[in-house]
Symmetry: C2
Subunit: 153 residues, 2 copies
């Protein structure tokens, strides 16, 4: 085991292949970019990073691969309250779903897990007899630091 981290590289690739999807040089690059991203990336950002590894990679391939990952539930698509235009952001689907909070002043994105959130989704599935495949809870507002800052400026 050469990867002692909690989230070992290659796990996304492994899940991808275990679904019988064809692995290509380009997909390998894109998956590793998505997997190792430390922040939320949009398609253009993913392309830029992928091209540092393989300059031949095309933006169309990035879009097609992201659609594939989305359809297979391997990544989630986020809007992040459209703080910067209409583009989408992507993240590996986590074990446990979380809420995204976007600060309208500083643009910071925060994530928040909550029992209440899990219970709410359970309630929807039971009370509405609705089978949830994907969910997105995004919040726009003002973060703690911007709230205190706004009293000084």
């Amino acid at each position: 085991m050469p990867f002692p981290q909690t989230e070992q590289p290659g796990r996304l690739q492994a899940e991808f292949m275990s679904r019988g999807l064809r692995m290509t040089r380009q997909r390998k690059t894109i998956l590793s970019v998505v997997e190792t991203a430390k922040q939320h990336l949009d398609a253009a950002g993913i392309l830029r990073r992928a091209q540092k590894v393989d300059p031949e990679i095309d933006r169309v391939t990035v879009y097609r691969t992201l659609n594939l990952l989305k359809r297979h539930g391997l990544v989630d698509e986020l809007d992040l309250m459209h703080l910067q235009g209409e583009k989408h952001y992507y993240e590996r689907r986590p074990q446990r779903d979380h809420i995204h909070m976007a600060c309208l002043r500083c643009g910071k994105i925060m994530e928040f897990e909550s029992d209440l959130f899990d219970r709410l989704k359970g309630q929807i599935q039971r009370d509405c007899r609705f089978h949830i495949v994907v969910s997105r809870f995004e919040v726009g507002g003002y973060c703690a630091s911007c709230r205190s800052a706004s009293s000084n400026d």
Copy 2:
């Protein structure tokens, strides 16, 4: 009082004007379209309905008016899980926030209010010291009728 309904026409117009915003012929038309809509409309749909009243109205005016309403918190912008392309939908901001559920099979949109939802937002504000201005909780999945239908076809 000529309007005995729960949601009397003109209330949106009244809120709009009470904010000191300039009322024009076009805005009056657009606001009444938004206010009386029985379903979630996108900008093109709002334009189409507005043009039935006033054919001179331009799509740019619709976009500008929707942006204005959004900035003033008088309407909410929805993605409805991007079931049909990337366009946005609009609804009057309700007294009590609700969740949108979009069926991936039949396209139906359902709304759901929940105490748990209200409590969850309260928790976010308290635990994260985050002041919520706007929130959007959208769910994609399969509705009750499509779940039972899918066993037969």
